[in-house]
Symmetry: C2
Subunit: 447 residues, 2 copies
C-alpha cells in the first residue's frame, strides 16, 4: 500500500509529537488528502462556473461529485470555464466567480481554470486575456491555504470533454495532491483517437504492460506500485546490483523483474527483445532511472559529467529509439520521462544533472509530434522536493528549506510523482502529450 | 547621472560601514560593474570557443575587447559558440571549454553561450542537446560568484553577427549587470531589415523620439535618462498629479513632459496627436506606468481588480493600438512593455497585478508577428527585486529576503531595467522581438 503521509507530518500531526512541535514552534503542514481507492475523490461538491464552450459538458461530467450552488456551505472544488473570456474586461469574471466562494473551499480543495492556449486564440484581445490567466492561477495557488491547489488547463479548440476526462480525474482528486500552480495542456483529438472510457475505471491499465527503469527503490518503486494498482503488469527494471530490492518490488506489485544496465550499448535491444518475447510488446515506458554526481563545474571532473549524461539522458533517448525501431512499443503507447526542477530552473552544483534533465524536456518536446502519428504520447514529470531516502540524508536546515519553499509548505511523497505518471499513462490521456508537469507543491523556485 | 550602486551596497562596501557590517555579520554583496560611457565594456579580454557556425565572426566582432588564449591569467568574458553541438555527446564541450577557465573569470565577468532554439534544429538529437544547454547555463549562473553572469542566446539559423551585435553589446558589458541566467532569442533578419550600425555607437538613438509613461519617478525616470543618454529625445509622460516631479525628469534628460492619464478613454489618440504634431511621430514607446493594489483575492474588492487591469494592461494595449492606427509609430519602431516576476511566477496577494503583468507577456507575444511586418519590435522587461522608493518601504527582513533570493545576492537598480529597455530600443535590435527578459539577478523565484 502506497505511503500517503510523510514521517515528519505524521510526527507533528498527532499525540506527543504535536505537543513537542508546538513547544518548539515547528511548522505543522496541512496533511494532504491523497487518493485512496473506494473513497470519494473530493471532500465536497463542485461549483462549476463560466460561460465558455465547455461549461455544459463540465456540469454533466462532474455531476458524479455532486454539483454545488454558489451559496453552498462548503466546496470540494471550484471549476471555472474561462474559455469564454475574450478580452481583458472579461477577466473580471475571475474576481466575480472566485472572490465570494474561496473561503468555503474545503481543505485539500481543488481549483481548476480551463482556458485556451494563447497561440490557439482568434484575436490579440483574446490572446492577451488568456495569457493573463496564467499570472492569476499561479498567484491564487500561492494564496491558497490548507492543502488546496490551483491549476490552469489549456484546452485545445477541438478538444471536448472526452479529451479532458482523464486530466480532470487527476486534478480533481488526491492523485494530484502535490501538483500545484501548474499549467497543463490538453490537445485536440487525433482522427484515429479512441478516447473511450476504459472498461474498468478503477483499473484503467488492465491488460497493459508497463516497464519502469530504476524500479528497485524510491520513486521508481512507487511508480511500479501505482501502475500495478491501476491494472498494469509491471516489468521492474534496475541495475544488476539492485538485486533483492528489485525482486522485492516486483513481487510486491505482482510484476516481474529485469536486471538491466540502461547505459549498456545494447540496453534498448535487450529490453525490446525481452518485452516482445515475454509480453508481445509494451504499452507504458517510464524512464525513471537517474543519478546525480554533484560538483560545481569548476571542480567537476569529466567522468562525472559523462556518467550523468549517460544514465539520465542518453539512456532514455536510445531506449525509446530502440523500442520504436524494434516495434516493441505498441500503438497507443505512453512514454514518460523524469525531468526535475533543476532541469527547469538550474541548480548550483548540478550543471550536468540540470543539463541532462533539461535534455529530457527537449526529448519530450522533440518526439511528441513524431510519436503522435502512432498515437503514442510522451510526457515528463519534474519532481521538486520529494521525501525519499535520498532527501532524508540532506542536512536538516536545507531539508526544511526545501520543504518550506513551496506553496504547500512540505515535501511531496514518491506516490505523488507516481500518480502523475499514472495520469500520463492512462488510456484516457491520448490528448496529453509534450507536457512537462512539475510535482513540487508549487515550489517557489523556477525560471 | 544614473545611480550605479545601491545605498546598502555603498554602506557595507567601505569605511566605517564595512567594519560595522563585518561585526554584525551582514552580507556584503559584490559591487556590480555597471556601464559607464567611455570606460571599457569588459574588465579583461574575451575567450571565444566552440565549433559552431558563428565562431569565426564572433572572434572578429569581439576582437575590440581583446581576444584571450585559454592560458590567459584573467578573462573579462567567456563566449562559447555551442551552435555546433548536435547531440548529447557533444555537450561534453561545455565541460571541456568552461571547467579549466572559470576560476580566472574576472569579477562581474560574463559568460555567454550561443545556441539554436530547439524548434529550429534539424534532428531530434540536436534538439535534445540544444534544450540541455538551458539547464546548463541556468545552473552555471547559480554557481558563478563575484557578480559574474551567464546567459544563453538562441540564434536563429538565418541570423548572423549583424543581428547579434546589439545583444552581445548588451550582454558583454555592465549594461546587463543585473540580468542573469536568462535565455534570449535573436531572430532571423527580415528581407527589409537594415541592421547597419548607427552612425554614432555611443548615441545609437540619436535623432529618435521616445515616449516613456510613468516617467516622473523611479524606474520610469531611469528609462528616460538612459534613452536620453543614448541620444533620444524623450517625451516624459505621467499623470497630471505627478506635476513637478515630471517636469524635473523631463528637464534633467533634456526632454519634454506630457501630462497624460493612460487610462483615459482617449489617451492613445491624445498621445498620437501630440507625437505627430510635435515630433512627426515616435520611434520608441515604453509602457512603464503601473500600479499595485495588493490584497488576497478572498479580501479584494472589485475596484482594486479593475484599476490594476486598466493601468497595467488595458492602457498599453489600447495606446499601442491607437498609435498604430494613427500612423504615429514609425516603421522600424520599438515597443517595450514592463512585465514582472509576479507575471511569470505569480505572487500571493497579487492576483490582479500578476494577471495584468502576465497579460503584458501575452501582448508582446501576440503582437510580435503582426508588428514584424512593419519592422516594429515589441518586447518586455520583467523586473525582479529593484531598489526603489517603493521597495525601501518594505519591512527589513522581507526586503533582505528579496535581495538574498537571487544569484547575485542583492537587489537591482532602476538603471538595470533602463539599460535592458535601451537594448530593446536600439536600432541594432531589429531581430530581437517577442522577448520577455527578466532583470532580477537570477532571482530563484520562478515558474
Amino acid at each position: 500500500m502506497a505511503q500517503t503521509t510523510d514521517r515528519y507530518s505524521q510526527l507533528v500531526a498527532s499525540g506527543p509529537g504535536a505537543a513537542i512541535a508546538a513547544r518548539l514552534g515547528l511548522p505543522r503542514p496541512e496533511p494532504l488528502r491523497r487518493f485512496v481507492p473506494g473513497q470519494p475523490a473530493l471532500d465536497g461538491p463542485v461549483l462549476v462556473g463560466g460561460v465558455g464552450r465547455l461549461v455544459e459538458a463540465l456540469r454533466e461530467q462532474l455531476a458524479v461529485h455532486g454539483l454545488a450552488e454558489p451559496d453552498a456551505p462548503r466546496f470540494g472544488a471550484l471549476v471555472l470555464d474561462a474559455t469564454g473570456i475574450t478580452d481583458v474586461e472579461g477577466l473580471q469574471q475571475l474576481h466575480t466567480f472566485f472572490h465570494p466562494v474561496l473561503r468555503r473551499l474545503a481543505p485539500s480543495g481543488r481549483v481548476v481554470v480551463l482556458g485556451t492556449a494563447p497561440e490557439h486564440t482568434a484575436t490579440v484581445d483574446e490572446s492577451v486575456a488568456q495569457r493573463a490567466l496564467e499570472g492569476f492561477t499561479r498567484s491564487l495557488a500561492k494564496e491558497q491555504v490548507r492543502g488546496a491547489t490551483t491549476q490552469l488547463v489549456h484546452v485545445a479548440p477541438g478538444a471536448g470533454i472526452d479529451q479532458l476526462e482523464s486530466t480532470l480525474r487527476f486534478l480533481l482528486s488526491g492523485r494530484s495532491a502535490f501538483v500545484d500552480g501548474q499549467v497543463v495542456r490538453v490537445g485536440s483529438p487525433s482522427p484515429t483517437d479512441h478516447p473511450d472510457a476504459p472498461a474498468d475505471r478503477d483499473r484503467p491499465l488492465a491488460g497493459k504492460v508497463a516497464v519502469v527503469t530504476g524500479a528497485a527503490r524510491g520513486i521508481g518503486a512507487a511508480i511500479a506500485e501505482v501502475l500495478a494498482r491501476d491494472g498494469a503488469h509491471v516489468v521492474c527494471a534496475d541495475v544488476p546490483a539492485a538485486g533483492e530490492a528489485l525482486s522485492a518490488t516486483a513481487n510486491a506489485v505482482g510484476g516481474t523483474s529485469l536486471a538491466l544496465d540502461v547505459t549498456g550499448p545494447d540496453a534498448g535491444a535487450v529490453l525490446a527483445e525481452h518485452l516482445l518475447t515475454r509480453h508481445g510488446g509494451v504499452d507504458v515506458v517510464v524512464h525513471n532511472a537517474g543519478i546525480t554526481r554533484d560538483k560545481k563545474l569548476v571542480n567537476m571532473d569529466a567522468d562525472r559529467w559523462t556518467s550523468v549524461m549517460a544514465v539520465n539522458l542518453l539512456a532514455p533517448q536510445r531506449i525509446t529509439a530502440a523500442l520504436l525501431a524494434a516495434g516493441a512499443l505498441r500503438d497507443g503507447g505512453r512514454v514518460v520521462g523524469v525531468s526535475s526542477l533543476a532541469g527547469i530552473a538550474g541548480n548550483a552544483g548540478q550543471t550536468s544533472y540540470a543539463a541532462s534533465k533539461a535534455g529530457v524536456i527537449g526529448l519530450v518536446q522533440a518526439l511528441a509530434p513524431e510519436l503522435a502519428t502512432r498515437r503514442v504520447t510522451i510526457n515528463a514529470v519534474a519532481p521538486g522536493f520529494i521525501e525519499t531516502a535520498m532527501t532524508a540524508a540532506i542536512p536538516l536546515v536545507t531539508r526544511e528549506g526545501g520543504r518550506r519553499l513551496s506553496s504547500l509548505g512540505q515535501g511531496g511523497l514518491s506516490v505523488d510523482v507516481a500518480e502523475t505518471v499514472a495520469w500520463f499513462a492512462s488510456p484516457g490521456s491520448a490528448a496529453v502529450t509534450g507536457q512537462v508537469v512539475r510535482v513540487c507543491g508549487q515550489s517557489l523556485l523556477g525560471a
